[in-house]
């Protein structure tokens, strides 16, 4: 348990560095789409929601998980589409 936890902590910290590096230089033009695109990615919580709502028996966890599935899906689908809508208007 602890070793996997530490391994995951490594993953977390390294990913944070990647995040810092990737976003370093972005023109202001793209701040809004970038924010909304990143926001869609944070809808990754949908994976967690799927995992906890997977049980066939009804219980509190499954119900909470299903609600989370709905909310996170709205976040993901709405986020990516809205970003695309903004970006398709950036024409040269």
């Amino acid at each position: 348990m602890t070793t996997t936890f530490i391994a995951s902590l490594f993953v977390f910290v390294l990913a944070a560095f990647v995040g810092f590096e990737v976003i370093n230089k972005v023109p202001p033009t793209l701040h809004t789409p970038l924010m909304s695109g990143a926001n869609a990615i944070s809808g990754i919580a949908v994976i967690g929601a799927l995992l906890i709502s997977g049980s066939k028996e009804w219980n509190v966890t499954v119900i909470l998980g299903l609600v989370a599935v709905v909310l996170a899906t709205v976040n993901v689908v709405g986020g990516f589409l809205v970003t695309d809508r903004m970006l398709q208007m950036f024409k040269k």
């Binding site: 936890f5 202001p28 789409p33 970038l34 906890i52 998980g65 996170a72």
Partner: protein
């Protein structure tokens, strides 16, 4: 064979992670941004599909119903929202993401409790983090949404001992956390913590002025990433941890860029109740303003000034967004270009209610981004500009930021509109901007005021310019 599926799922997660990183990278450049968004969404699709193949996941019917409901709501919202309402939309979606992460943490905690094998310490800690960050993101985003949508006053809401109150909320949350670590099965304490984190989100955002909402939304965006990471630690899933960390870090960078553009620190944005009207020392620059004369002109005179200029720089602000005037502005620019006038757009990094807000609106009106100039590029050009046309912008063109050291916006980089040969300011009234301070520019000898809603006034200008 039984090992093959979990390994395959993990490898798919790895591919999805790569797609997220490349997608974010591509989102940073105008030419590849749209492609980047598609890559990231493909990554998300891969992650979701491979998770559904997980053998823990059996409850297909209900899950697919849930996904379908979410997708329908998401699609409808994405296509119905007006471009001007984009900041609120991102705020709202952000809140939902935070809520989902918090629910995952709560749900998993419940499962562990009822499994009867005790809850490991590490899990309790990550659940606590998930509940705190997720709860604050949820309610904070909703308050930010309310402020931008005009449901709640945009002014900072203040009451005595506010920061003490907020600190007490946080402390009580920490105390509860301590209890929970000792006695994980104390559900009433746990529910209280869920409540406290939600209340904290509300009172955290309430005292922040509407003008600072972009920074808040960006910060909450970063939080929602961290909430997803926390949920990832709870269910021990690296996909969530990585994606959450990516968003958390990138959100923090964006927040930082925005604060820099306003020449303010993050704590100043969050805790100073900026724009509450209690401006200290405002008398220095604004005091003398009362006696000065405002030059008001009508659309016909304005059109003449614009039509016979050689160069015009358009400075759009939130007023243009509210009036949905971006298409009319473009029409005006087209007419002026027909007359041989060189038209450029000057974009202040925090014009509007979101960074890049103006760029999105002008892009919607088919203005090519070659015509849009960042503050550093356009400022040296104002000296040789005949007319600066300010449309619904206020604080970002206030010369007090350069000259009046007692002004609350002193030191904020501004667009040097006052250096142009003439400035035409389109504004609904003489009211102060979001920062709640007077703007000397409006009383300058070279400044002409054109009062009215941005859309009406620019429409009239178009009609008049056509007749030149």
């Amino acid at each position: 064979m039984t090992d093959f599926l979990p390994t395959g799922i993990e490898l798919t997660y790895l591919v999805a992670t790569g797609l997220f990183i490349f997608g974010l990278k591509k989102l940073g450049s105008p030419a590849t941004a749209r492609q980047g968004n598609v890559w990231a969404s493909v990554g998300m699709l891969l992650a979701v599909v491979s998770t559904l193949l997980n053998q823990q996941v059996l409850n297909y019917q209900m899950i697919l119903v849930g996904i379908a409901i979410g997708a329908v709501i998401g699609v409808t919202a994405a296509y119905k929202v007006a471009m001007t309402a984009m900041p609120q939309m991102v705020g709202l979606l952000n809140g939902l993401g935070g809520a989902a992460s918090a629910l995952v943490a709560i749900g998993e905690f419940w499962r562990l409790l009822n499994a009867g094998q005790g809850v490991p310490l590490g899990s309790t800690i990550t659940v606590i983090l998930g509940v705190l960050i997720g709860g604050v993101t949820l309610t904070g985003s909703f308050v930010a949404f309310g402020k931008l949508q005009g449901l709640i006053t945009g002014k900072p809401v203040k009451f005595p001992l506010q920061q003490v109150f907020n600190a007490l909320l946080l402390i009580s949350f920490l105390v509860c956390s301590g209890y929970l670590l000792v006695t994980p099965d104390n559900t009433s304490i746990f529910l209280a913590m869920v409540g406290i984190s939600s209340v904290l989100g509300i009172f955290f955002v309430l005292p922040i002025g509407g003008g600072d909402m972009p920074v808040v939304i960006s910060l909450l965006n970063s939080f929602s990433g961290l909430a997803a990471s926390a949920a990832g630690f709870v269910v021990m899933n690296d996909m969530l941890i990585v994606a959450g960390a990516l968003v958390g870090a990138s959100g923090l960078i964006l927040t930082n860029i925005m604060c820099k553009a306003m020449n303010r620190s993050l704590p100043n944005v969050l805790f100073s109740a900026f724009g509450s009207g209690e401006v200290k020392g405002g008398a220095g620059g604004a005091g003398g303003v009362g006696d000065k004369v405002v030059h008001s002109i009508d659309a016909e005179e304005g059109a003449m000034m614009l039509g016979y200029a050689r160069s015009v720089v358009v400075v759009p602000g939130y007023g243009m967004a509210v009036a949905q005037a971006q298409h009319t502005v473009r029409e005006l620019a087209d007419q002026l270009e027909k007359l041989g006038v060189e038209v450029k757009y000057a974009i202040h990094p925090v014009a509007g209610r979101m960074p890049g807000h103006m760029n999105v609106l002008l892009a919607e009106a088919n203005v090519s981004y070659d015509y849009l100039y960042d503050m550093d590029d356009i400022n040296p050009q104002f000296d040789s500009t005949d007319v600066a046309l300010v449309i619904g912008a206020n604080d970002v063109v206030n010369p007090a930021a350069r000259s009046n050291s007692s002004s609350p916006i002193y030191g904020m980089p501004i667009l040097d509109v006052d250096k142009a040969k003439h400035a035409i300011v389109i504004k609904r009234s003489m009211n102060a901007g979001f920062a709640g301070i007077e703007n000397e520019l409006f009383y300058g000898d070279k400044t002409m005021m054109l009062f009215g809603s941005a859309k009406d006034v620019v429409g009239k200008l178009v009609a008049e310019v056509k007749q030149l």
